[in-house]
C-alpha cells in the first residue's frame, strides 16, 4: 500500500506515537526500577491516575504546567507510600495491595473530579511544541520526533539518567541486588527495606509524572479512568524489558504508535475500526510472548517480601 509511506502519514504516525508513548515511557521506567528492586507494582495504574488528576487540577488552578507535573509526581509518590508501608515494610502480598490501590485510586480520583469540577470537563490549553531548529526541517522526522513538547525530550533524557543510575551508582547496584538476592544485600550491611522503599517511591513519582503528562499534554483534560489501562500496559512493557531501560522506550513506542495508528490512517483515507487498532499492541505482545516464551526472565526475588530470618 504505497499510500502508507507518504510523509504526511509517517509524520502523523510518529508524532502521535511519540506523544502517546511518553506516559508509558515514564510509567514503565518507574516499574522497571521497582521490579529490579524486587517489588511488583500492580498498582501502577492507580499511581498514574492519581498523577493524572493531581497534574490536571494543579495546572488548571495555577496555569503552570510544570507545577502540574510536580503535583503529579507528588501524588504518585503518596500512593506509592501505601505499597511501601504494606508490602515493603510489613511484607504483605504485593499483588493484593496493588489491586486495592488501583480500585481506591480510580474511585477517589473520580469522586474528587465530581466534587471539584462537577459535571464540567475543563480543557487545558494546548501545550507549546518545541521545535528543534535545523532538525525540524528533516522530512518526516522533523515534524514528528523533533517537534514535540519539551516534556517529551525530558522523558527521553530521564530514561538515559535512570539507565546510568542503575548501571553506575551504588544505589543502582543495591537495587539490582535487592531484586536478585536480598539476603546477600542484607549481609553486606545495606538495608533492603530502605533500598526498596526508595525504588518504590521513585516508581510512584515517575508513574505520577506519566499520568500528569497524559492529562496535561496528551488529552488536555481529565476524565475518570483517563489512563485506560496504561498502567497495566506499562507493567507489561517493564516485564518484557527485563531491566533493560531502552527496551521500555521501544515497547512504549510500539504501543504509542498503534494507539495513534487510527488517526494517521484516517489521514490517508484508510478506515480501520478503532477497536481493531486498539487491540493491535496487545495482540503483538501476545505474539511476542508466544514466540519467545522461553526467554522470560524476571528478577529472582520479584514479588517476594523480604523478611530477615527467612532464606
Amino acid at each position: 500500500m504505497p499510500d502508507l509511506l507518504t510523509p504526511t502519514f509517517l509524520t502523523a504516525l510518529l508524532a502521535g506515537g511519540l506523544l502517546a508513548a511518553v506516559p508509558l515511557i515514564f510509567a514503565s521506567l518507574g516499574e522497571i526500577i521497582a521490579e529490579q528492586a524486587g517489588v511488583l507494582n500492580v498498582g501502577l495504574e492507580g499511581m498514574m491516575i492519581s498523577g493524572a488528576f493531581a497534574g490536571f487540577a494543579a495546572t488548571q488552578a495555577t496555569g503552570d504546567l510544570w507545577l502540574g507535573v510536580a503535583a503529579g509526581a507528588l501524588a504518585g509518590m503518596l500512593v506509592s507510600l501505601v505499597m511501601v508501608l504494606f508490602c515493603v515494610r510489613l511484607g504483605m502480598d504485593q499483588i493484593i495491595v496493588g489491586i486495592a490501590i488501583v480500585l481506591t485510586a480510580e474511585g477517589v480520583t473520580s469522586v474528587l473530579h465530581t466534587v471539584i469540577f462537577g459535571q464540567s470537563y475543563p480543557r487545558l490549553d494546548r501545550v507549546a511544541v518545541f521545535e528543534i531548529p535545523l532538525l525540524r526541517d528533516i522530512p518526516v522526522l522533523g515534524g514528528s520526533v523533533f517537534s514535540q513538547p519539551l516534556a517529551v525530550y525530558m522523558g527521553l533524557a530521564v530514561v538515559g539518567v535512570v539507565a546510568w543510575m542503575l548501571r553506575a551508582t551504588s544505589w543502582g547496584l543495591h537495587v539490582r541486588a535487592a531484586g536478585e538476592r536480598p539476603a546477600s544485600l542484607d549481609a553486606a550491611g545495606v538495608s533492603v527495606v530502605r533500598v526498596r522503599t526508595v525504588a518504590e517511591i521513585m516508581c510512584g513519582a515517575l508513574a505520577g509524572i506519566g499520568g500528569a503528562y497524559l492529562s496535561i499534554v496528551s488529552s488536555g483534560t481529565f476524565v475518570p479512568f483517563v489512563t485506560q489501562g496504561a498502567g497495566f500496559i506499562a507493567i507489561v512493557i517493564a516485564m518484557l524489558a527485563r531491566g533493560r531501560t531502552w527496551w521500555s522506550v521501544l515497547g512504549a513506542l510500539l504501543f504509542g504508535i498503534s494507539l495513534s495508528l487510527t488517526t494517521a490512517l484516517q489521514l490517508v483515507g484508510i478506515d480501520i475500526p478503532v477497536d481493531v487498532v486498539t487491540m493491535l499492541p496487545f495482540i503483538s505482545v501476545m505474539v511476542v510472548l508466544i514466540l519467545f516464551a522461553r526467554d522470560a526472565r524476571l528478577p529472582s526475588a520479584l514479588g517476594l517480601p523480604y523478611l530477615r530470618g527467612s532464606r
Binding site: I96, I101, L103, V111, T114, R194, F232, F282, I290, S310
Partner: protein, 375 residues
C-alpha cells in the same frame, strides 16, 4: 521455624481448608467483618471531608439496597454474577493462578450469548435454550483462558501479563462482535433484544431470576470441590507450593490448563446468566467490570466459595443501594470503588495484625529489627 514458611507458600492461607480449633469462629468473624466496618467508617470520614452527610448516605444505601422490596430483589439478583465470578476467581487463586483477565472473558462470553440468544430462544424450547446458552458462555470464557494457561503451564510465563493482555483483546473483540456480526436492528451498536418470554424464569411474585439458584448451587459445588475432592486438593497443593506439586507427581501443565479453563467457564457462565436473566441485550461499550471489584470479596471470604455468599449480598447492597445513594449525594457511582478498595486494604492490615498475634509477637514495632534495619 515458622518464619521460614513465610514466602515459600504463595498466596494467602485459607482458614477453610485447614480445620483449626485454634482460630475460633469469633476470630474468623472479626477478620471478615472487621475490614468492612473499617472501610465503611473511613468512607464516612471521606464523605464528611468532601461535604456530604455520611449518615444520610449510608441510610440511603440501606434503604435502596435492602429495605425497599424492589431494591432487595435487585440486590439478590446481583448476587448471581458476583457469586459466579467469585467462584471463578476462587478456583484460580487457590491454585496460585492470578486470573486477572475476567473482564475480557466475561464480555466475550456476553457478546456471544447476547448475539446468539435472541434467535436461539425463539426457535427451541426455552429450557433447552438456556442450557445451551449456559454452555456457550462457559465455552467462550474457558476458551479465552487457554493461551495464558498454556503459556504459564508449559513455559512459566507470568499469567498476570498474559491474562491482562487477553482481557484487553477480549474487550475489543467483544465490541467488534457487537458492532459487527451480532449487531441488532437498533441504531446504536447493540445486539437484538431477547424476547421477554425467553428470559430466565423469575421466582413466583418476585423479580429474582432462577439464575440465583444456579449461582448458589455452583458456589456449594466449588466449596465441595476444594473441601472434599482430590482434584481440589491438587489445586490447593499447586497454589500452596508449586514446586511441591511437581515433586508429588501432579501434572502441573495439565492442572494449570484445567484450572484456568474452569475459572474462565464460571466467569463466562456469569455473563450468560446476566444476559439471559437481567439485561436481555448487550451494548458495544458496556462493561460492568466485576473482575477487580470482586477480588476483595473473594479474599475476605478467605477463598471459600460458601463464605462468599454473605459478601456477595453485601456487594449487592452496596451496588444497588450505592447507585441510588451516590446519585442523591451528587457523587459518581465510582465511590463504591473507594469503599471496595479500602475493604481490601483493611483486610490486608487485619490479616497482618492477626498473623502477628498468632505468632505470639508483639503488635508494636520491633525495636531490634528496626535498629538493625538501618545499619
Amino acid at each position: 521455624m515458622s518464619d521460614m514458611t513465610a514466602g515459600l507458600d504463595s498466596g494467602i492461607e485459607t482458614a477453610a481448608r485447614i480445620p483449626s480449633r485454634r482460630r475460633g469462629w469469633v476470630d474468623a468473624l472479626v477478620r471478615s467483618v472487621g475490614p468492612i466496618v473499617l472501610a465503611l467508617l473511613t468512607g464516612a470520614i471521606l464523605l464528611a471531608i468532601i461535604g456530604r452527610d455520611p449518615i444520610a448516605f449510608y441510610d440511603d444505601v440501606l434503604k435502596a439496597g435492602l429495605f425497599r422490596a424492589s431494591g432487595l430483589q435487585d440486590t439478590i439478583t446481583r448476587t448471581a454474577p458476583v457469586l459466579l465470578v467469585g467462584a471463578g476467581l476462587i478456583v484460580a487463586f487457590r491454585a496460585g493462578l492470578w486470573n486477572l483477565g475476567s473482564d475480557g472473558q466475561y464480555l466475550l462470553a456476553a457478546a456471544f450469548v447476547a448475539g446468539v440468544a435472541p434467535g436461539l430462544l425463539a426457535s427451541v424450547p426455552v429450557a433447552i435454550g438456556w442450557i445451551l446458552l449456559a454452555f456457550l458462555g462457559m465455552a467462550v470464557g474457558a476458551a479465552w483462558t487457554i493461551v495464558p494457561a498454556w503459556l504459564r503451564g508449559r513455559y512459566g510465563v507470568n499469567e498476570i501479563i498474559t491474562t491482562l493482555m487477553m482481557s484487553f483483546i477480549g474487550v475489543g473483540l467483544a465490541a467488534l462482535l457487537v458492532k459487527g456480526p451480532f449487531d441488532g436492528p437498533s441504531t446504536v451498536p447493540q445486539t437484538s433484544v431477547i424476547d421477554p418470554a425467553g428470559m430466565l424464569l423469575d421466582l413466583p411474585d418476585v423479580r429474582i431470576h432462577i439464575g440465583v439458584f444456579l449461582a448458589l448451587f455452583v458456589s456449594a459445588a466449588v466449596y465441595w470441590l476444594f473441601a472434599r475432592t482430590a482434584f481440589g486438593t491438587r489445586m490447593d497443593v499447586l497454589g500452596a507450593n508449586p514446586r511441591a506439586a511437581v515433586h508429588v507427581g501432579i501434572d502441573v501443565p495439565r492442572l494449570t490448563l484445567v484450572t484456568f479453563m474452569l475459572s474462565g467457564a464460571l466467569i463466562g457462565l456469569a455473563a450468560a446468566v446476566d444476559i439471559v436473566g437481567v439485561f436481555s441485550y448487550m451494548r458495544a461499550d458496556w462493561n460492568p467490570a466485576y473482575g477487580l471489584k470482586v477480588v476483595p470479596l473473594v479474599f475476605l471470604a478467605r477463598l471459600n466459595a460458601l463464605a462468599m455468599i454473605p459478601f456477595a449480598v453485601f456487594f449487592g447492597v452496596m451496588s444497588i443501594g450505592g447507585a441510588y445513594a451516590t446519585r442523591r449525594a451528587d457523587l459518581p457511582g465510582d465511590f463504591l470503588l473507594v469503599l471496595i478498595g479500602l475493604v481490601l486494604l483493611f483486610m490486608v492490615l487485619t490479616q497482618y495484625l492477626s498473623d502477628k498475634r498468632e505468632r505470639g509477637e508483639s503488635l508494636l514495632p520491633r525495636r531490634t529489627r528496626i535498629a538493625n534495619a538501618h545499619a
